[in-house]
Amino acid sequence: MTPVMRPAPSLEANEVSKSFLMGMVRLHVLQQLSVSIYPGELTLISGPSGCGKSTLLSLLSGLQAPDEGQTRALGQELSGLAKRALERFRLKHTGFVFQGFNLFPALTATEQVALPLGYLGFSNKDALERARQVLKEVGMSHRLDLRPASLSGGERQRVALARALAKRPQLLFADEPTSALDAENGQNVARMLQRIAHEQGSTVLCVSHDPRLTRHADRVLEMEDGQIQRDWRPSERDSAARREFA
């Protein structure tokens, strides 16, 4: 088998540890974990509940600092940055999709998506135009002027996705983006995430324990008890399986 040439990793964790104090007990969630994530692909972190998936995501995205070890994103050390500098880094480079939809009840779909662009210095006109365009990409052009209260769950998640995508981030983090969706909507969102990685060369890191999503992932990291147990690529397994079959 020929070794595949990969670009430099866009996200790196180097022996990171994270623990939480729960009452009198210290809970070690991650211990000396190292991992590299690459651009242009959808990387899926899966594993049982409570194994530390979301915690790893928050370290790699700079929302939390590790107790020990270093995290790097786009070649920049995150662990040493001050709060304000981290905010600026996230503003420029990262998009997030969280488990809940977390949409402002007062804003229409277009406004939800345009709002974060304002902080990047977009004019109102440009922001709204970009918002409409991105909503079209996620198949929401027929719901531009509706507020969250009149959207279905799947539609809300697509608005949340569009909000994360609007600034064309190099890094996209998603934590259980499909947990509130039915099978079909879940597949749709997963397909969109993969398309963004492939078409825009973004780094997409997605946490999910939904096994159906592995189909759309380029790489799967299986976690257990704060460790990465398996690191595999569905396409390679498929081709290996096919070779075996032949």
Partner: protein, 378 residues
């Protein structure tokens, strides 16, 4: 920028209503209280504010109109010598003991104002028509406030006694109510008669003067400094003297301190309610704010949203204050409740209302501490 603060406020106005009403009613309490104070203590200066005189010359250091002491008649000369002074007239203040005709009425202490009854007289010019002035020229004629007839134990056109002299009530008018005693208007001659034997001197209590142009008043006052050859006197502008009299009464009676204390409590209660309901609003949207922060909106820009919201709450609260106070005060005025308002005090009340909203917003910003994006990842 998408106007998040405004859109949220108008979309969820029901949840902002408590804050708006808390601000609004704090404002109403402040305004009505101020109006009552102005109304009640304004009557301490009714002599000044209902007269057209620009300058008042009286005994040096006089704290309030009712504490006037006799000054030398030469002061009139000094005033007339000033190039900007166009008219001067004496004003005589006499304290007296009133006995009405009704059986049960005991002695009532009254303040007799002896005034120029000429057509161009300055004293009480806004209360007295020239017809009423003329009637005061009859010997022993007096005019009182119509709401005080009962207290004086007298009816219109009846006789009464002041310091043992018989007087005749020729008219009863509105707007003459004073503080600390009942005001009685009389001609200078009648007043001198009532002053009686124990008169403290030959001169009047004040000289009031008219100045050519309102813009010259201060300059004229500055020129009219005491001069030993005219005896002791001091000159105030009408505005200064009115304010001086009101302040004296406000703080001498302790009412001023009580009012400030009440205003403090009103602001405190209003601020607590407003900041709590704003904080609840912020906390309710904490997850959405956290997403914005995750996407890079700084804590500072999120704080601005909260502050903008509190400005809206302040503005709408001010509207509530304005409308409610106007209605309340006009109803009160129609029922002879002593209320008054002026631009300065209205502006101070408005500033307090807005300040209260802003401070509440600053306190509510603490709710943003819950908007930690790491909490969204579990």
């Amino acid at each position: 920028m998408i106007a998040l603060a405004r859109k949220t406020l108008f979309h969820e106005w029901r949840r902002f209503l408590p804050a708006i009403l808390a601000i609004g009613f704090s404002g109403v309490l402040l305004t009505v209280q101020a109006a009552l104070v102005l109304g009640i203590f304004g009557s301490a200066a009714v002599y000044v504010s209902s007269s057209s005189a620009d300058l008042w010359a009286g005994y040096p250091g006089t704290q309030s109109v009712n504490f006037g002491r006799t000054i030398s008649p030469d002061v009139e000369m000094r005033l007339r010598m000033d190039p900007d002074v166009t008219d001067v007239e004496p004003y005589l203040w006499v304290e007296g003991d009133w006995h009405g005709t009704h059986e049960k009425s005991g002695g009532v202490s009254v303040f007799v104002s002896g005034i120029n009854t000429g057509r161009k007289g300055m004293m009480f010019s806004s209360l007295l028509s020239s017809g009423l002035r003329q009637r005061l020229e009859e010997p022993n004629a007096v005019i009182v406030d119509r709401s005080e007839l009962d207290q004086l134990g007298v009816s219109l056109d009846q006789a009464a006694w002041i310091n043992g002299h018989r007087v005749h009530v020729v008219a009863a008018i509105a707007g003459l109510r004073g503080l600390g005693g009942v005001n009685v208007l009389a001609s200078l001659d009648t007043a001198r008669l009532l002053q009686g034997e124990d008169s403290p001197g030959v001169g009047p209590t004040y000289y009031v003067a008219k100045v050519r142009k309102p813009s010259r008043v201060e300059a004229a006052q500055a020129r009219l400094i005491a001069n030993p050859s005219f005896g002791p006197f001091e000159v105030w502008t009408a505005k200064q003297f009115a304010w001086r009299s009101q302040l004296y009464w406000m703080f001498d009676t302790g009412a001023g301190v009580a009012v400030l204390f009440m205003a403090g409590i009103v602001c405190l209660v209003g601020g607590v309610i407003t900041s709590q309901s704003l904080m609840a609003m912020v906390a309710a949207s904490a997850r959405e704010y956290a997403v914005l922060n995750a996407l890079g909106a700084s804590f500072r820009s999120l704080s601005q949203v909260v502050l903008e919201q509190s400005c809206w709450v302040g503005g709408l609260g001010l509207l509530v204050t304005g409308i409610t106070s106007t209605v309340l005060l006009s109803v009160a005025a129609r029922h002879d409740v002593p209320v008054a308002m002026n631009i300065t005090i209205a502006m101070i009340c408005a500033a307090l209302v807005l300040g209260l909203a802003l401070v509440s917003g600053l306190i509510a910003m603490r709710g943003l501490l819950r908007a930690d994006p790491a909490l969204l990842l579990r």
